[in-house]
């Protein structure tokens, strides 16, 4: 319940305040969002599997975001930021798909 509530409230807040994203953050924000989404899907799957753990979730969430941001940052420093962020998005996307499939199996038994 809390995650759903948090998501909804966050979206509403973001829409209401509509803040300006600082320039230095702009390349990383979308990657961070995707990484966090991956963590959330993973958490949802874990809960359906009955193995959800708040600590794991929190740590994986934060580390996901940080690592994804770090990879993109490194890529930017090396001049392959665009490619690396594509790579990160692809990997995270695959994981999200996998988690979504697991969730689907749980929900629909298929």
């Amino acid at each position: 319940m809390i995650p759903v509530l948090g998501l909804v409230v966050g979206v509403v807040l973001g829409l209401v305040f509509d803040p300006t994203v600082p320039l230095w953050l702009q390349p990383y924000l979308p990657i961070a969002v995707v990484a966090a989404l991956d963590a959330v899907f993973g958490g949802a799957r874990a809960r359906l599997d009955g193995v959800f753990d708040a600590k794991v979730f929190v740590i994986s969430f934060v580390s996901n975001v940080v690592v994804a941001g770090l990879i993109v940052f490194l890529g930017d420093q090396l001049g392959v930021g665009a490619q690396l962020s594509t790579a990160v998005v692809v990997v995270l996307g695959i994981r999200i798909f996998g988690n979504a499939a697991a969730i689907r199996r749980h929900v629909f038994r298929a």
Binding site: G6, L13, G14, A36, F52, A82
Partner: protein, 297 residues
């Protein structure tokens, strides 16, 4: 980053389960969320039934035997953290969607992306410039055609005016002279009138009328002295000529020795000439459509 971030992956719960049981029991019963987290598997790991406040949810989860929720991290800190993180995620998500919606997105774009965008924009610009040039030239063509058509129309109009005056289908005015030929003895002949008309034409008369009959290219003077007619219309002395042309030239032409004035006087008539800066030739002739002749293309 490879396997670590998977949040709820299977290996995790086991190590987590061990440290928890001792401190946790009191904060555990969060009454607001009974069916929210079924937590089916873990209890089997390490717990005898220490506290039983969560029995209701236990029942909901269908597991009566292992009542305690030992390592279930129901503590408020974890809940708050989860709440904050998901709230942040929602916030960032909304913000990012907003940013992507606007051109502001460009400010954070990478160099190579910007180069690509610039290339695309330049190609687009090129294409639009081409279109612009095409349209411009089309516009110029149309304007040219338009002005050419205008000029042609103007010329045609002038030509029509000139022809109308020559043919006598419209009234005309301008400088010229009035000539009155009196013929008290009825001696003036066809040849005299024809001579007068020819003389006036030769002196540059542009159009004229005689006794209210317009003289055109096909005008004919017929009859016998004393009863003359022009184009079948009878005319009587005095014959009133109204002529448009250069007044001096016309008068000079009429007065030359052996000219009109001379020959009329010889027949006992008189000629009175009055120059005028403005005479009106208002007699009209019907326009004759050629019956046999047609333009040679």
């Amino acid at each position: 980053m490879t396997e670590d971030p998977r949040p709820g992956a299977t290996p995790d719960p086991a190590p987590d389960a061990t440290p928890d049981p001792t401190p946790d029991p009191p904060p555990d019963p969060t009454p607001g969320r009974p069916a929210d987290e079924p937590a089916p598997v873990e209890p089997a790991a390490a717990e005898p039934g220490t506290t039983e406040p969560a029995s209701a949810e236990r029942a909901a989860a269908g597991e009566e035997g292992a009542p305690a929720r030992p390592r279930r991290r129901r503590d408020p800190v974890a809940a708050a953290l989860i709440g904050v993180l998901t709230l942040l995620l929602g916030f960032a998500f909304a913000v990012q969607v907003r940013v992507t919606d606007t051109d502001q997105a460009l400010t954070g774009a990478r160099e190579e992306d910007l180069v690509r965008i610039l290339d695309e924009l330049e190609a687009e610009e090129q294409r639009l410039r081409g279109q612009l040039a095409d349209q411009r030239s089309a516009l110029r063509d149309l304007n040219d055609t338009d002005s050419r058509a205008d000029a042609a129309l103007e010329e045609a109009r002038q030509r029509a005016d000139a022809l109308a005056i020559l043919n006598g289908t419209v009234a005309a005015e301008g400088p010229g002279l009035l000539m009155t030929v009196r013929d008290p003895e009825g001696e003036v002949r066809v040849a005299d009138l024809l001579g007068a008309i020819q003389e006036l034409r030769g002196a540059g008369a542009e159009t004229m009328q005689v006794d209210g009959v317009r003289i055109g290219v096909t005008s004919a003077v017929t009859g016998s002295p004393g009863s003359l007619s022009i184009d079948g219309e009878e005319i009587t002395s005095p014959y009133e000529f109204v002529v448009i042309g250069s007044p001096q030239d016309l008068e000079t032409a009429l007065n030359i020795p052996g000219g009109v004035v001379d020959s009329v006087s010889r027949r006992g008539g008189t000629v009175v000439i009055a120059q005028s800066q403005r005479v009106l030739v208002d007699a009209l002739r019907p326009l004759e459509t050629p019956q046999y002749a047609e333009p040679d293309e």
